[in-house]
Assembly symmetry: C2
Homo-oligomer: 351 residues x 2
Amino acid sequence: MASRSIRLAVIPGDGIGPEVVAEGLKVLEAVAPTSGLAFEQTSYDLGAARWHRTGETLPDTVLDELREQEVILLGAVGDPSVPSGVLERGLLLRTRFELDHYVNLRPVKLFPGVTTPLSGVKTDDIDMVVVREGTEGPYTGVGGVLRKGTPHEVATQESVNTAFGVERVVRYAFEVAASRPRKKLTLVHKDNVLTFAGDLYQRVLKRVGEEYPQVSTDYVHVDAATMFFVNQPQRFDTVVTDNLFGDIITDIGAAIAGGIGLAASGNVNPDRTAPSMFEPVHGSAPDIAGQGKADPTATILSVAMLLDHVGAAGAARRVEQAVSDDLAERAGLGARSTAQIGDAIAKRVTG
Amino acid sequence: MASRSIRLAVIPGDGIGPEVVAEGLKVLEAVAPTSGLAFEQTSYDLGAARWHRTGETLPDTVLDELREQEVILLGAVGDPSVPSGVLERGLLLRTRFELDHYVNLRPVKLFPGVTTPLSGVKTDDIDMVVVREGTEGPYTGVGGVLRKGTPHEVATQESVNTAFGVERVVRYAFEVAASRPRKKLTLVHKDNVLTFAGDLYQRVLKRVGEEYPQVSTDYVHVDAATMFFVNQPQRFDTVVTDNLFGDIITDIGAAIAGGIGLAASGNVNPDRTAPSMFEPVHGSAPDIAGQGKADPTATILSVAMLLDHVGAAGAARRVEQAVSDDLAERAGLGARSTAQIGDAIAKRVTG
Ligand SMILES: CC(C)[C@H](C(=O)O)[C@@H](O)C(=O)O
Ligand SMILES: CC(C)[C@H](C(=O)O)[C@@H](O)C(=O)O
């Protein structure tokens, strides 16, 4: 059959980024033809190395090129040699904000055979999707510092939340919840302390919820939510939350579902006014870079999310199934390199 | 010997508050004479019931009376019938801010015999103290709402951090770290995103740290910290963090150390310009109130912290030991009522 061509931007990044991205692309290339897809790749050199060389994080010209792509795959960026915040704000968050990635989608699922640090938990007990807001809240960068370095210094950070921004992410979360068997949506916030923002989320949840009578809703404070992730993960099905709380709870999510090596994510622009970006939740892990030790599974699962986003649900399910089968056998396999894991999964998607 | 008299304010509060406070006082009264202490108690009717009756959360006159006390014991306040935030901001946070409780001290310790939801964790693996800032950060209440209820609504929350506020809590944390065998202090923040506030914390940590060469320091992003609480809790000894991050990580701390029924806390004014307040981390749990089902252990451990604060270290250690001994035997004991647990611990402190 004639294949559909999709423009894919690849940002391998720093540390283990290039290694895991290579395996993600290996799996993508293996599965694409089976769905009549062909990916036209352009690689972008962004991250710590470029910053050291040129002082640039995300030049406007590169951003403009990225806008012309259909979808983006990112490995990881960052290095201890770069001051904290430079690449995070200048590259990662800039991309999310400029490309209007207002949904940060993070499944938290315990696959069969994967060891969780929680005792007495069954596979089915951990199966949720976190819908994290991606373009406002405490991540805006609004704030500043006065009298820096003096005993009278004041540093502020402002969480900015809008009806527009909250409604669109809450609506998306209702759609996700409605599509899942349990049809349960939990708002995680801290409305008893952050009363202005929390109240806005609560009112929007209630109002939009009227359009989804089939979805039951629930509210949990963020502090209690972190506790329930550890001692009652079955409590959660779909979760909607703000940018910062989402950052925090999805790391606990990763921990309980077998570690950061397995956690996938999508920075999604559901309106498709700009390309969405898929990336593993983990960082660049410079301590193990270049040694073939990194687990590419999170990137491969991010590729499955990418496939879903471009409408290739069949290919996405095949990748997920291949990962699931691979994970189920890992316990007996001993240590494998990054490439060996990628090879094994790539083989399964075609086999 | 002649006994020293200490003015103690008691705020039993709502739900299970009065039940657990009764057991805390039972243990306090049992141990006090052994240290030559007598507590002169005044009980304050504050919480949901008073708010319903009078509309008051914390009247100025009551606050003035509280200021004249030496120390405060609080059970729990709150009820679903009160709108979220009313008692939290109007009573709990107001007390912390007005009495300058700039240290929110929360030990996270797994006692022998206690079941943790983490698998493969030994008692010694979970033994840390979290020093949470208590009077600034995102808890200031600064912020507001514009165009409420319209599609153009904007809701803001401002995190305000000062050199003055950060330095005093960081200095306190260094003192705590220096007093512990491992002498390790970890700053938990999100300095790659909240760059202004995070940078202030980092600079203060570095500067104050020069006065404590015996303490090693470390930095972990809050998202990673929550993951490490679950899969590498041994990593932490003393933790210093902002008000909101401290709220979140101490709930995971409670979860991994056996649940919210065991988590104690102190809202401490180290300069003693106003009384400090000790309280269990848990809430009022209206669903089990009045049934004798609440575990008073967190309150009793808060009483031990209160004893430390008033200089009765010997009595504090006896209460902790009694709790530890009681916990070690619980597995074999079956269900006990709130009062039975209090009785058993009170008997041990004198026995
Ligand atoms: C690197 C950092 C800016 C980022 C975030 O805080 O969102 C990361 O932690 C994540 O979760 O993707
Ligand atoms: C009730 C609430 C205001 C409070 C807080 O957020 O500090 C509680 O969660 C706590 O940890 O003591």
